[in-house]
Amino acid sequence: MVQIKTLADLIAGLDVVPDMSRFDSDKTFRDNGIDSLDVMTVFLAVEENYGIKISEDESLRINSPAQLLSAINARI
């Protein structure tokens, strides 16, 4: 089971969040300062890191790090 801190650390390493001290996994990617292009980087990093694939349809329903965490944990 992946913990939110692990996912937050992964996202922090991507250098896509302007201020990680204000990171809130329940807020949307956009409210965390992660724009639509950076979201693609986050998804790719997750797929590569956990060896999973998140479909296009499902990715469109994932709007926050917390939702992404649920998608990860449903697959591993």
């Binding site: 724009d35 292009l37 693609m40 980087t41 998804f43 790719l44 797929e47 590569e48 296009e56 990715s59």
Partner: protein
Amino acid sequence: MLGIEKIAVHVPPGRASNLTLRETFDIDESFLTEKIGVLERALKAPDVDTSDLALAALHKLFEEQERSRPDIDALVVVTQNPDTNMPHVSALLQARAELPSACAAFDISLGCSGYVYGICVLQAFLVANGLSRGVLVTCDPYSKIIDPNDKSTVLLFGDAATATLIGPDPVLTCGPFTFGTQGDLTGALSCTNGVLHMNGREVFNFAATVVPRDIAALLDRAHLNKEDVDCFIFHQGSRYIVETLAKRIGLAKDKVRMDILRTGNTVSSSIPLLLQKEINNPSVRTMVLSGFGVGLSWSSCVCKKVG
């Protein structure tokens, strides 16, 4: 040895501003400049067709190299947006540019990987047939197929044409080459009923994972290290994808060319638009070109200055 003798480019004077679309698509100027990398897109006039743009690039090439015109043995056009399905654009150009009737003329249907493929195909065609000079034209005006309401494409693409003279007195030699195709991903970038469709995430994942592996394979085949290469010219899909590639391959920013702010992504013309600028750059001797896109398809090569 055959190689690139000259490159001419034609960017139409018309521009479409992305700034005027900020409200429509809920984006700000920094997203345009820092992420997409395009403030305005080069736009052909409505009555200008693919062969007109291509002819303008050819005219520029021959303005500076008129002696070559009667010696052109082959004319190759890379496009997926021809004037009409028949005839091929290269045949239209052969007549309008008054090239010899002995000139071979054929089109190559490829998108953003087309320039690198085209160099290899034309060079090989000339060598295989004992011919000496040919011109590779790129011209794929996506304004013909863009849906103005589609945020994922309308902010990106611009129109342009280029003409590259391949001959026996090169300033650049090209090779080795690498190629690849992931035909299972054709749906990620396609044109149906005359409208372009792009799955941005699929194309991004493809480029971000395939191109770094391809560059590694190319450098290995060429017996080069990253440090041996003075400049990398990637297809200018967007600023974001070029910067992502630089990051994932581990390249210094000053080695990676980026310039689509005032033109947009000009498909198969994006690499020669940048390559032309490097021909007279004395600090650059060895380059890597890499195109990737529709297919999904990719091709990369090493280019070296002669002399």
